[in-house]
């Protein structure tokens, strides 16, 4: 088995996510690796959403463009995604919907209608869904019509529920039953996944529905789907998790004990997950994390800073609009040298932008938000495992260097679901830096901002015995009182800023970047954040075709490991910058810091993440000399 790509789609509120979760778990139980991408509108009910799941025996890092089996809850899903289904792939469709006139689907946006009309005209496709499916069949796609309501009637009778409207929610499980029957997958594993997803009573109903659909498909569809899903005997212990969950667990590991947030997509899931798991098991007594839902993001960052001043490890979690509101508080934390961590989930921007979609356009903003100049660390994780460890490490860096740390994630990572071997975190150490205790301070006059060679002034939490301290957003003297004196100002600025040199010197290079492939290769890709997985997979495909390309993934963007980057890029034939934004922000930053310009850009700003397929084609065009200096990717619905 190469990889199987399954997609479920339907209106929001119809259980697409639940279906995908059951599908992913069932595959996970069978020892398979899963990578899932979730797409949804900024809407509660009714607009189109879908989940693309890729399943394989081996490790998977990203999605492909392909769909092998499409489970459509409604007509819109077929209209939107049938083109992605590969030859000999299948479409599961509601048999009642085939007479639907495509242009009558009310939720189709006007821009999509225009494209659809154009498509129908060009390809001579009639107006009903059936015409569209016939066209797909001409392209060797199999169509599996299933009478969803008919099956629900049977199920309703068995459950003694006469009103079908009360069980239409189970259409999602019907499509799962049909999907797994077509893929000839072990039904017991699917039942187990259903049980793990619902409460006992609901699970019982859904198992009945699952089996009804599974039996129906086995009975009805004799035209076998070419693709099969086989469980493996893998004994590796794996977890199946989202980026939001990985960050939350990383924070717990890193000692975060106060988390503040204001609801925003795609960050809020992390805080809710933390609150649901707030009592923490340790090797000693139980501990706990307090999660505070604040009135806005201004309160969120400032309450987190307050908690950090009191000695707790504290963080806040937000997305672009929230981070915009945090800019002033971030500057205060910089000026007062507060170890506060901000987890920043980028989404389509500017303004409200594409609130539920992906983007990577906030790198420069994270690096520069706030007026004036102050020291900060900016980290960017490239996958879920990095999300976990970086989230933990952020607190060590924040406390050791006494500055805000911004941890950049993006929507693609936050909402994707992936299987991993259970994380081994046993070696993770807590480093609180120069944190003073009562014993250190007997008989001393404490100066919170004492001038030191490194710039780091030993820190005492508020409330420490024998310590009275001040801090302020004004420029201040060593004691933390307001000072506008020019010499003091110069010394304070230099003290704060020179801590960045220390970060640059002390943090090991392996925590700042990853290099993949041969350092001697003539061509190199530079990137950051979630494109990592697609790039690695695309490079492996190109390597088989004898194109060797290196890949420099930056994880610490501020301070940028300039010397390493300069050496890695010097003398390269082609430097290819891959990012999900319009301006190629990382490429620009590298040029600013090293003087080395990227000569190719592969960019995407449609709000959808890059796929392996897209990156492969774009990189191949570059190395075969067929690419323009700027390629813009557009795949995805």
């Amino acid at each position: 088995m190469d990889s199987i790509n399954w997609m479920a789609g339907g209106p929001q509120g119809s259980g697409v996510d639940t279906a995908a979760n059951i599908f992913g778990l069932a595959c996970g139980y069978g020892g398979l690796n899963v990578f899932g991408r979730r797409e949804y509108h900024s809407n509660i009910k009714g607009l189109h959403s879908y989940f693309h799941l890729r399943v394989a025996n081996s490790e998977i890092l990203a999605n492909l463009n392909d769909v092998n089996l499409l489970a459509a809850f409604d007509a819109e899903t077929v209209v939107r995604h049938a083109q992605e289904v590969v030859a000999e792939g299948g479409i599961i469709v509601d048999s009642q919907e085939v007479t639907t006139k495509m242009l009558d689907i009310p939720t189709l946006p006007p821009e999509f209608r225009t494209e659809l009309r154009e498509f129908m005209k060009t390809n001579d496709v009639g107006e009903t869904l059936k015409d569209f499916l016939d066209y797909a069949q001409d392209n060797k796609v199999q169509v599996y019509p299933v009478p969803y309501i008919g099956l629900l009637n049977v199920i309703g009778k068995k459950l003694n529920i006469p009103q079908i409207s009360r069980i239409t929610r189970m259409i999602n499980v019907l499509t799962i039953g049909v999907s797994f029957a077509l893929l000839k997958y072990d039904r017991n594993l699917v039942e187990r996944a259903v049980k793990a997803t619902f409460s006992e009573k609901i699970a019982m109903m859904n198992i009945l529905a699952l089996n009804e659909a599974y039996d129906y498909a086995e009975r009805t569809f004799t035209n076998n789907l070419k693709f099969r899903l086989n469980k493996t005997e893998s004994k590796e212990e794996r977890i199946y998790l989202t980026g939001n969950q990985a960050v939350a667990m990383g924070k717990v590991l890193g000692g975060c004990r106060v988390q503040t947030y204001y609801p925003i997509t795609p960050a809020a899931d992390e805080s809710e997950y933390l609150e649901a798991h707030q009592i923490l098991k340790t090797r000693g007594e139980d501990e706990a994390i307090v999660v505070i839902q604040t009135e806005d993001e201004i309160a969120a960052i400032n309450s987190a800073s307050g908690a950090a001043l009191a000695g707790a490890r504290a963080a806040t979690s937000t997305s672009g609009p929230g981070f915009s509101l945090m800019a002033e508080g971030l500057g205060w934390a910089g000026n007062s040298e507060v170890p506060v961590v901000v987890t920043y989930y980028q989404r389509g921007a500017p303004a409200t932008g594409l609130p539920t979609r992906h983007g990577q356009a906030d790198l420069r903003f994270a690096m520069h938000a706030g007026h004036g100049e102050f020291a900060r660390i900016v980290l960017a994780s490239g996958d879920i495992k990095e999300c976990f460890f970086d989230a933990a490490q952020a607190f060590n860096l924040a406390e050791k260097y006494q500055m805000p740390v911004i941890h950049l994630i993006d929507k693609a990572m936050a909402n994707c679901s992936q299987t991993y071997p259970v994380f081994n975190y046993n070696g993770f150490k807590i480093d609180r830096g120069e944190l003073l205790t009562e014993k250190d301070l007997v008989g001393q006059e404490y100066k919170r901002f004492r001038f030191t060679e490194t710039g780091i002034s030993p820190r005492a939490p508020l409330g420490t015995q024998n310590v009275v301290q001040w801090c302020t957003g004004d420029e201040h003297n060593e004691k933390g009182h307001i000072s506008e004196e020019p010499l003091n100002r110069r010394q304070m600025m230099e003290k704060r800023m020179r801590k960045l040199e220390l970060v640059d010197r002390e943090v090991p290079i392996e925590d700042k970047l990853n290099f993949f492939g041969e350092e001697s290769s003539e061509d190199i890709v530079v990137s950051w954040g979630s494109p990592k997985g697609a790039i690695i997979e695309a490079l492996a495909m190109l390597k088989k075709e004898k194109y060797g390309i290196g890949f420099l993934q930056l994880r610490m963007l501020n301070p940028l490991p300039v010397d390493y980057v300069r050496k890695a890029l010097a003398g390269k034939n082609r430097i290819i910058d891959v990012e999900d934004n319009y301006t190629g922000q990382l490429g620009g930053i590298i040029r600013e810091k090293t003087g080395i310009a990227s000569n190719f850009h592969i960019l995407k700003y449609t709000g959808r993440p890059t796929t392996t397929t897209e990156i492969y084609h774009a990189l191949k065009a570059v190395v075969t000399g067929k690419a323009s200096a700027r390629q813009v990717l557009t795949f995805g619905n």
């Binding site: 000692g255 806005d296 309160a299 307050g306 001040w470």
Partner: protein, 321 residues
């Protein structure tokens, strides 16, 4: 250790308020109140905002966190929740708390955290040269306003009560004893306490002056002036809510009092309710050891610095095997 007001005096900071500023009175009242309550400087935190009032944090010898304009309450909230053993006071101006920071003013009321919030109310933005603050009455033209104030004034006590503050009082910066006693009651109150401190701005508010509060413009036949301020406690006003059945009527009585202004201005405690659970108690209901091991006091690592946390409950939930 017994503390004295002098223990709360700062020696190396020049208090740079204008001569005659009410902030001096507030500073003295704070120092006296802290001493009488025997607070310890290292366990006391003053969180201040921006404006003249923000400097109170530097002029009292207790931990001082001088924050951003309007953001005193979020900082104070974070500090208190991380370490509820600390005595936390938030102090800010009227523009700070009722203009730019009014969202925090209201929402902090909803939490009823056991801390104190003091607003300096002088009706103007002093440090930016006297613009109208949210507490300046409509149609007043203080001396640096180009035109009379076009906005209605907010009612700080009323807003506090309907926002959920469980203690609301008003005092006067030039009546240091009354202010000190009011601050003491606020600190001792279990729950979120609000104190509005009336305060002339000798430089920019030429209407609500010391003389105006003293009633010098309305002398009686004997030539004696009668202060506009009167003490609620001397009128038999009972602000305390003892059970939930009284709450609405006490609230309404307090709101009615809070609307008085002009020739008779009440000071003292308007509203007080202690049976309401504090935020800390609510957190403690979810985390039974919160008070003993609050976030700031947790042990994050073992003796070899390894993170002490055991993630296996998380991992178990996520396992596919």
């Amino acid at each position: 250790m017994e503390t004295k007001p002098s223990d709360f005096r700062v020696s190396d900071v020049y208090a740079d308020w204008c001569p005659g500023c009410g902030d001096f009175g507030i500073m003295n009242a704070l120092q006296m109140a802290f001493a009488e309550l025997n607070l310890q400087p290292h366990r006391t935190v003053i969180v201040s905002g921006i404006g003249c009032s923000g400097k109170e944090a530097h002029n009292v010898k207790a931990n001082g966190v001088h924050t951003l304009h309007g953001r005193t309450l979020p900082f104070a909230t974070g500090i208190k929740i991380a370490n509820p053993e600390l005595e936390v006071l938030a102090i800010g101006g009227d523009g700070d708390g009722l203009g730019i920071g009014v969202g925090h003013f209201v929402n902090t009321g909803r939490r009823n955290i056991d801390m104190t919030y003091i607003i300096h109310n002088n009706g103007v933005y002093g440090l930016t040269k006297g613009q109208a603050a949210p507490t300046l009455k409509r149609d007043l033209k203080t001396k640096s306003l180009p035109k009379p104030n076009i906005n209605e004034a907010v009612n700080p006590i009323g807003l506090a009560i309907i926002s959920g503050y469980t203690f609301a009082a008003r005092s006067y910066a030039y009546d240091v004893k009354h202010l000190k006693d009011t601050i003491k009651q606020a600190i001792q109150h279990k729950g979120l306490a609000f104190v509005e401190c009336l305060q002339p701005c000798p430089t920019y508010n030429d209407i609500n002056t010391k003389e105006w509060y003293a009633g010098e413009d309305r002398k009686d036949a004997q030539g004696k002036s009668h202060s506009r301020l009167y003490k609620l406690e001397e009128t038999g006003f009972d602000p305390e809510v003892r059970d939930w059945k009284q709450d609405l009527s006490k609230k309404m009585a307090a709101l009615e009092k809070s609307e008085e202004w002009g020739d008779r201005i009440p000071i003292g405690v308007f509203y007080k309710k202690e049976y309401e659970s504090t935020y800390e108690e609510r957190v403690n209901n979810r985390i039974p050891f919160y008070r003993n091991r609050p976030p700031a006091k947790q042990k994050l690592s073992d003796e070899r610095d390894f993170s002490a946390v055991d993630l296996s409950p998380f991992m178990e939930e996520l396992k596919t095997s």
